[in-house]
Amino acid sequence: MTRYAMIIDLNACARCGGCVLACAVENIARITSDAEMANVHLPENAIKYSRTRPVKVRSGEYPHVREEMVFRQCLHCEEAPCVDVCPTGASYKDGDGTVLIEKDLCIGCKYCIIACPYGVRTLPEEQIEEGWVPAGKHALMPFVPDKCTFCHHRKEQGIENYKPACVEACAFDARIFGDLDDPESEVSKLVSSGAAVTLKPELGTRPKLFYIPTSRLPRSLETR
């Protein structure tokens, strides 16, 4: 069996935003090239719909402020609440563990958006402009909930050993993608070593997106 998983190594991440833009170009932008010139269509704020979005988590007060950028995106839970609540079966878990949406089956009830304990699904509320050429069946569609698909369309295109666009774009090896069921893969090694952690494990959703937190001294230098 294959169970795809991703690790975001915040310790290696340079906060460059390359993954966010790569995702927007891959999944959100529509490119037409009927004339000799290409046209790139994007929603009003494309980053809002990027399937991985930067968020600054803050703690402490001046001058002991701490801020940390993390990325919000679908966690591809093994026990996915969004799949459980979907009345039409539009939200489903693929054979490789990826949580996907069959957009044609969606009735727009938004139950999945409410059910997601991580609040990562977005709802595009913009009209599609004439002339948009969709990238594939997992592409952004107006009024249908949207989320990370681990760039499943790349797999469906038959790309061997495929990687999601964000992973390919990361020059800092901060995004690691692989098969959790393969004990030799980097992801399963990092997960079993305990270096990679997930969000809200107590919910029992068993997410397949993990984070390696930024390492720093346990005590600040000042208190020495």
């Binding site: 906060r15 390359g18 833009l21 927007a24 932008a29 803050r58 230098l221």
Partner: protein, 845 residues
Amino acid sequence: MPPKISRRNLLKIGALTAVTVTTPVTTLKYFRKTPTRFQEAVKPRFIRETHPTRCILCGQGCPMRVETINGIVRHAYPNPASREVEKYTAICGRPQGLITLAYNPDRLKYPLIREEGSKRGEGRFRRATWDEALDLVARKLLEIKEKYGPQAVAVFVHQGNESGAVKKLFKIFGTPNITKHSSTCHTSMDVGLYLLFGKMFGPGTFTNDYENAKLVVFVERNPYGGLVATTWAKMLSIGKKKGLRIIVIDPRFTETAEHSDLWVPIRPGTDLALLLAIINQLVRNGWYNEEFVRKYTNASMLVFKDTLDPVKLVDVDEGFFKGKKTYLVYDESDGKFKLKTSALKPSLYYEGDYEGRRVTTVFNLLRERVSQYTPEWASGITGVPVKVIVEIARQLWENAPAASIDHGYKAVRWLNEMRVFQAIMMINILIGSLGQKGGVLWNKSLKPSAPISTPKHDVESVWDYWKKNGYPLHKPGGTPNLLIKSILEEKPYPIKAAIIWNQNLIGHHPGFKEISRALEKLELVVIADVMPNETMPWADVVLPHAYFFEEDAKEAYDVKKTPIPYITIARKAQNPPYEVRPSYEILDELAKRLLTPEEYEKYWKLLSLPADQVLAKICESKNLPYDKLVERGSLALSHQPKYGEVYKSGKPFNTVTGEIELLSIKMLQLYNKHKDPLLDPLITWVEPQYMMYKKDLSEDEFVPVEGFINMQSINTFLKDSKLHVDYTKYMKAHMVWIHPKRAERLGLREGDWVEVYNPRQPDVSYKVQVHITDSVHPDALFGFHGTNPGPLLELFKKNKELRMEYTPESGFNTNFLQPLEEGFTPYWGGAMLQDFIVKIRRLGG
């Protein structure tokens, strides 16, 4: 502000209402109807290709590969051929948005000529043909050359693959007045390092060995988030995995601070005080590498106590220091005065009489000088607690030589910046980490540019003139401010034309009013660029050239910021759209028109050949493997840096003594002439300029502090690029950051609009939105540089030919707020981009 209802918004509202009032069934119908194309277009054929190039969106020049799908740029990846030197290879988020650059509807599409009858600054243009535009430029330039001489043409170039070729063309044309942008970038660092090393070393000279370091301290630097930093971010990223610890000293909580063990918020412009206190602690507590200091610096040099003149300077005739001068020291091994070259153990601490005059060592002078800069003193100025200052000094010493203060990059913020960088490198020298593994390494370069010669012309340059008139320390060809001064004051002669190539004088340079006045004085202003920029309304002719990934560059390039010899080339990934032409083609057309056939044949010919042939010639002249380079796109000639190399390339430094000079002999001579404490040959405290205006800030007064968001750049490529702008806005980087305490007193709330202005030049102002956060020092008004065209916003929003549709309504750029004369230091003419006080005024209800 009432919400704006644009056509797009209206559509959106309409669509939303449709969803709320109708049943899901109708929604389904809607989808069944429109996305039929969706079904049909699912199986397009994808032809994927990748092309090696270097990314110059920010000037770093990272080797990368651009992927095209069916001939259209899509993604970008670090060049996989560089995996073997992985730690020096990375790209950031900027090139991931190449597609919205290439197909930006606002990009310059065809040549423009200023509308007849319109004034410079109005920005009214008409479309022209290439021949018309080029003929006009050439005719005017030749007329000016004929009437006033070639030196009446000023050339401003910035980054760009072709910048070397632009300089060469105009050198052949005959003008010496060609300048880069250094004085708004790193000039003050160059001068600070000149004091130590006798040569103006720029920021590309060093690499801190983050990979092997235990501790790095960042002062005014943010390699994780800022500009020209990706290679260093990569090394940091690798270092972090190995346990590197980071201290960040900055008025703002930066991206680097996210990775840090300690963030030290500091009052803007006072880093020097903190650094001086660190030196104080190192010297006072014996936290310095005595052997290193004795061997590599002139700390043991005996000088007369009253004049600071070296007691004796003697020519060295042989050995390593041949051609340099050695000096008198006191040899501790036998208690005798000797020349350093023959002393066994030159004393760092001797003080006594020599031939009836009081003499002492340079080290004693330094110790005496910094004794006043106690941590308590520094704490009062910087607001940093005493124990933190002492702790930073201790940590640096305890982890040396695998500890250092980062060499820095941008160095044109404050009047005292030159001293900041002198102090930073002096600390690295005192703890003995220069050249050591985990410390600060020297970068390597091969300079693989096209091997063409340029004729020597016997014309006085404006640089010669300013060297003799007030700017003895300026770097010729790196101070556009002095060239602007020459245009305004007609000194030493009138200048009549400006060629502005990939340089945005008005947006990039303090002195908005003076620069626009200077441009209005000229007979011809030509601008070549890719996107509209703030200077363009003042142009007579605008030449649109290709993006770097749309043409084959006729050069190879050093991957500059690496301690290994490492080069890259830049190849075309796609054709330039519209009527845009490759830069080298435009330059060649100009060369044909401007040069005599003999000049063209003798000097320029090589650059008129196809890129492959030029590259082959470069490889031949530098003894590089052409096939390998072209196949891979980048090539590292060694994979590991040389550790333990204190002298750059194993040669003596350019100082008088050939050593690192803790008391600069060249500077001493200058100091004796001018008697200005700014030119002190020893390290010293210099107050920032804004403190000279006013010691305490009023309620509505702030010190402007700028940074770079990692999706924007110095040039205008990204200012109006949809994806980059969206990201900028998403991160609230188009707003100014204000500390909550200050905001509360001013009654400001998140998202409020304020007007920013400099009370010393109140007639220039612009609107910005406020973001309230305690990630910033209360004295600072922090903004990311140049996210929009500031006071020129309206002009660009409505202009037909120079349109910036996507650029945010809010943006921060200190350059517009400063008068030219107050924006640059005396003697070396480095910019002081933040060294003034701004006021803010609340707008609206």
